[in-house]
C-alpha cells in the first residue's frame, strides 16, 4: 500500500507491513506529534499487539522523539532532524524501533526536588521490553524492542 499520509514533509517516508520509516523529521513538537500519530496508525493497521502494549509503544516512541524535540538541539538554537525506523522481524516476532538524532541530549537527572520533569527516559524503560540509549558526540540513538508482536490476522492468543 502506498503511504497516503505523505503530508508536507521534508524527509523520506515509508510505511509497509514490516517497516515504518520517517527520515529527516524536523525535531519540533508539531512534527513529532504527527509522527506519533502515523506510527500509531501503522501499528494498528499491521499488527495485533494488544491495546496495552500498542499504547505503550506509541508513548515510548513519543517520549524518545519529545526528548529530541525538547533538548537535543538546544545548543544549536534551532531544530535539527530526527530519524525514526521501526521494523518487524517475522522470524522473531519482534518489533524494534530506533530514534536517532545528531544533537546532545539532556541526560542529567532532573533538578533534585523537582519531581515534575524528566520522566521520559523512565517511561521508555518501563514501556519497552528492552531499551537502550547510546549517546555520543555524534548524537543519540534510542533503541526500543518489543517481543511477541504478530502481524494482524495471525494472532496466537
Amino acid at each position: 500500500m502506498i503511504d497516503s499520509m505523505s503530508a508536507p514533509f521534508l524527509g523520506r517516508t515509508a510505511a509497509y507491513a514490516d517497516r515504518f520509516e520517517r527520515i529527516g523529521v524536523i525535531a519540533d513538537p508539531d512534527s513529532v506529534a504527527r509522527v506519533r500519530e502515523e506510527f500509531a496508525s501503522w501499528l494498528g493497521e499491521f499488527f495485533e499487539f494488544g491495546a496495552n502494549r500498542a499504547s505503550d509503544a506509541v508513548l515510548a516512541i513519543y517520549e524518545a522523539l519529545a526528548n529530541t524535540a525538547e533538548f537535543a538541539y538546544l545548543s544549536a538554537g534551532r531544530p535539527g532532524t530526527v530519524d525514526v525506523k521501526a521494523s518487524h522481524d517475522p522470524v522473531e516476532s519482534s518489533l524494534t524501533v530506533t530514534v536517532a538524532d545528531r544533537g546532545l541530549w539532556r541526560t542529567a537527572a532532573p533538578t533534585p526536588g523537582d519531581r515534575s520533569r524528566g520522566r521520559g527516559i523512565a517511561l521508555m524503560k518501563a514501556l519497552a521490553d528492552r531499551s537502550s540509549i547510546q549517546t555520543s558526540t555524534g548524537g543519540t540513538l534510542v533503541r526500543l524492542y518489543w517481543a511477541r508482536v504478530h502481524p494482524a490476522g495471525t494472532s496466537r492468543h
Binding site: 513538537p29 513529532v32 513519543y62 519529545a66 515534575s116 517511561l123
Partner: protein
Amino acid sequence: MNEQRESTDGTPPASGSTCEVNERWSDGVVVIAVSGVVDMITAPQLEEAIKSALAKTPTGLVVDLSDVEFLASAGMGVLVATHDDAPDGIDIHLVAEGPATSRPLKLVGIADIVPLHATLDEALAALSS
C-alpha cells in the same frame, strides 16, 4: 459559575495535538475535565487551566483524564507539579482508566504520588470523606 469552557488550543490541526479543558464546580470542589491529547504541545494549556482553577480557592481539585487519548510525560509532569505545589489543605486527585492514561501513570509511579481513581464518582467520594 457552573460550567466554564476554558479553551481549545490553537495548534495546527495537522499535528492532531488538540486538547480541551473544561472546569466545573461541585460543592467547592473543582473538576478539571481534560479530553484529547496531553503532550508537550498541550501540557501548558492544562497547567494554565489548573492554576486558574486553584486561584479560585477550591476545597479540592480533581483532574479528570477519562477522555484523554494520549498522555505524555509532559502532562504527567504538570500533574505532579500540581500536587507538589498545591496550597495547604487542597487535596488533588486524578481520574484515569485505560492503557493510555492510568497504565503509564502507574508504571512510572505517579499513581503513588497523586491519588488515582477509576471514576469521577470515586474521586469525589474520596474528597468528601
